[in-house]
């Protein structure tokens, strides 16, 4: 099982461009895939449509005043988080995959733990820990005997702070994908490189890294998209980024159109970056040229090297998981949420069911769309599939509006028609229901499951489809009997990623949910935004606790994903 090519990647043609002409009845599946992908694209299209609406003068002036700063901050943020996650993710992945040192086995899974931490939670926690009256500064003051009035401590609520926080929670994406790529590399290539006189470092840089490049870039793209879409952290740290601009246009200037324009610009930017990377890779392809696979003989590290490796692997876990978790636990035990108890069971249930629902729906949808694309790899199909995954780059609130608008329009149109025709008012059928909420999640996170399933399917040779079809199976039979068992791993990976992200998701949940319907993330937000972190800690810890289970399952699955054990 791999989680390769998670972000928006243009669906690949089947090897050799073989096109499997489906029978008539089986055309149903590609059509269903096309239709579903189109429906999921509606919110993004709603956002993009705003580009055509003219903007008003006040908004333009504000934009001219503020946009340069937003862009500069966003560029620094992206560069910082990109570099940070790259360094942490790749070096940790390399160390635990290729080297053996005390604890390296445990680090393999522990390095994924920060994934269970929502970024905004980390921002709240570190903001609280490191602020002036917080425990760290207070302790330092009393140790050093400093008087009130010295402000030498670096400010956590800053661009630098945001970079550290986001790096700490986002590096696992790079780590996961880099690790999966390193695991797949046969040691044969590395040995050849060593035999030809390259040292371990040069081998890493000249052989292992280029081979893993597509996966690492895929992870990095995920990180960038997450960082771009983040609002919780930058809001809490009051760092003006492009997302701030979207919010300010919308809420400050009362211009949802302006906000959507900026969001559309953001989309175009992401597309440009991904396009550039592909361009720079050019026609170069890095393939494993040998079928001989031998599990790598690990480099045994000792002495200072082992210590250094331990430090490299420990620091990210400490910063991204242990310190905030301990702090939250401390807060929860000392003060905590007074509503802990029966009400919490309800919150946890809501969160769990939404997360499971979203991940199951996203997985099913991803399978239909990806398989439809495999059967009919037409340009239209590819474009639609790609559109349907763009929601991942758009901030949750913007997606929420993209969901609210068409749902409201549909509901009111149905209501109007029913009134006119039958004199019955149907009211709002979909707006403000769980269905609308699940839809929003799927729009936002489909990229995670789609790319996972799609890359899984891509690894299955079309010869297998051919063989199965020759043996009398229809396309659906092939899917059920051949593909499903083979891509089960990818399907599960995608579902788990969606599960974890849904559990943490906030802006869309907040605004699309039904009456009296709270989730753990909502509870955390309502308390923490009111600067009552101690009370929020209880719900926050529950999110982390619930999120850890899939994270551990994920890491176990990956640990077992050696090529020899993969059914492909």
């Amino acid at each position: 099982m791999r989680v390769e090519d998670l972000p928006v990647s243009p669906p690949r043609l089947l090897n050799g461009g073989t096109r499997l002409i489906p029978s008539r009845s089986a055309l149903l599946l590609p059509w269903a895939g096309l239709l579903l992908a189109l429906v999921v694209s509606i919110p993004v299209l709603t956002v993009l449509r705003s580009l055509a609406v003219p903007a008003d003068g006040l908004w333009l002036e504000l934009l001219a005043l503020t946009l340069p700063r937003y862009l500069a901050n966003t560029a620094v943020l992206l560069a910082g988080v990109g570099l940070g996650t790259l360094l942490v993710g790749v070096s940790a992945a390399w160390l635990v995959t290729v080297c053996r040192f005390p604890g390296s086995r445990s680090f393999e899974w522990a390095l994924i733990l920060p994934m269970a931490m929502p970024a905004y939670l980390l921002a709240y926690t570190y903001g609280d820990l490191l602020q002036y009256p917080g425990p760290v500064q207070a302790a330092l003051r009393s140790w050093l005997g400093l008087s009130r009035g010295s402000s030498w401590f670096p400010e956590i609520r800053s661009l630098g702070g945001a970079i550290v926080v986001m790096t700490a929670v986002l590096y696992p994406y790079v780590y996961l994908l880099a690790r999966a790529a390193f695991l797949e590399q046969s040691v044969v290539s590395l040995e050849a490189s060593r035999t030809l006189g390259r040292g371990p470092w040069r081998s890493f840089l000249a052989v292992a890294l280029p081979l893993a490049r597509p996966s690492i870039v895929a992870g990095l793209a995920l990180v960038m998209m997450e960082a771009l879409a983040d609002f919780g952290t930058v809001k809490h740290f009051e760092v003006d980024t492009f997302t701030t601009g979207i919010y300010l246009s919308w809420f400050g200037m009362g211009s949802p159109i302006g906000a959507a324009k900026l969001a559309a610009g953001l989309l175009l930017f992401v597309l440009a970056v991904i396009g550039l990377e592909r361009l720079s890779r050019g026609k170069r392809r890095y393939h494993q040229t040998t079928a001989r696979y031998r599990p790598p003989t690990p480099f045994r590290l000792g002495g200072w090297r082992a210590s250094a490796a331990i430090v490299v692997c420990t620091v990210p876990i400490l910063v991204g998981f242990v310190v905030p978790a301990v702090r939250l636990l401390d807060l929860a035990v000392v003060a905590g949420d007074q509503r802990f108890g029966a009400a919490f069971v309800g919150l946890a249930r809501n969160s769990m069911l939404l997360a499971v629902g979203a991940s199951v729906v996203a997985a099913g949808l991803a399978l239909v769309v990806a398989y439809g694309l495999r059967l009919v790899p037409s340009r239209l199909m590819r474009l639609t599939a790609w559109l349907s995954t763009l929601g991942y780059t758009v901030p949750g609130s913007v997606i929420a509006v993209g969901v609210l608008l068409p749902f409201g329009a549909l509901d009111n149109a149905v209501d109007g028609w029913m009134r006119a025709t039958f004199g019955i008012s149907t009211g709002l059928l979909l707006s403000g229901t769980i269905f609308a909420l699940l839809f929003a999640y799927v729009v936002r996170f489909l990229a995670l499951s789609f790319n996972s399933v799609e890359s899984g399917l891509g690894r299955i040779t079309p010869n297998m489809d051919g063989a199965a079809r020759t043996l009398g199976q229809g396309p659906l039979g092939v899917l059920r009997r051949v593909h499903l068992p083979l891509v089960r791993g990818s399907l599960l990976t995608g579902a788990l990623l969606v599960f974890v992200d849904t559990l943490k998701e906030l802006p869309a949940t907040l605004i699309v949910r039904p009456f009296n319907f709270d989730t753990l993330a909502v509870r955390v937000y309502l308390l923490a935004s009111d600067e009552r972190l101690s009370e929020a800690a209880t719900a926050a810890l529950t999110i982390v606790a619930v999120g850890i289970v899939p994270v551990v399952v994920l890491s176990l699955a990956i640990a077992r994903s050696h090529p020899t054990q993969v059914a492909t």
Binding site: L65, D240, G252, N350, I434, I511, N516, L526, V553
Partner: protein
Amino acid sequence: MKSLLRGLAPALAAVVAAVLVWQPMPSVTQAGPALQGAVNVYSARHYDTDDALFNGFTSQTGVAVNVIRGTEDELLQRILSEGANSPADVLITVDAGRLWKAQEAGIFQPTVSDTLNTRIPANLREPEGHWFGIAMRARIIAYAKDRVDPAQLSTYEQLADPMWKGKVLIRSSSHPYNQSLVGSLIEANGLDATQEWAKGMAANLARNPQGGDTDQLLAVVSGVGDLAVSNTYYVARLRTSAKPEEQAAGQAIGVFFPNQAPGERGTHVNVSGGGVIKSAPNRENAVAFLEYLTSDEAQQKLANASYEFPAVEGVPSHPVLEEMGPFRRDTLNARTFGSNNQLALLIMNRAGWR
């Protein structure tokens, strides 16, 4: 891996089944006879203590309160997209600018209620009854007790005086609290003077604005600057905090109500408030709900829970607010400074006040 998957499959199937069967939607009652059924509240107030208010209303009238909490602008967007069929009866938010924005968007209907009109002072409600303030917060100048003599302070305008160069702390211009304050300055002094003032403020800033009001207060305590502009309840929260560090910080700063001299317009106050939605399916319940919020009982609960000043005259404030002393408030109607918010934002950004 396979056995793992096999183990998970039934569990997954069970949860899927649960999702399908599970019906979390409470039934939203449609408009019925007066004071039965429910009232649907979209609230941007995040305080747990508001639940006590809602329960108080339910036990008094038998009307259930359904709530969605969110951020005001998103709630507004939701009401707009839900259109004529929106279940929303009442929208409650915490800033006059946002109330005005909601009114501009056309989602409120005018409400005529003797109770509301007599209980709430005229300048705290929209003249045509589109919305009503239920609680107030004053925007004050907090100063470092050990470094600033309050006699040096006088008005908001004076904060832009070069004597405070590098001393003033205030949050970002993107926040509505500042937009409403500057909106009131525009009304009092005109656009040009306010633009000059904003330039002076930007020049006097101790640091590029960062953090919320609480952070400005703490920055005064830690010596980054000497003066901070903040809402009253943030000071109250520090002073009543359970954490000794925060309590000490709250005591280290003094509260100054600006523009109090005879002839001055008074200290800027902003409101928490709400209005009845145009398409409200439970209109009468909605009005009764707003009226309940202005009852002595509810006002008292509000005041004690969120350290706001009650909107209704005669209801005592929380002792920590009383301690700050009596003050005269700017009686400019909230609609006026609310409607100036966008201009204010632009003026601050022109001056380089982020």
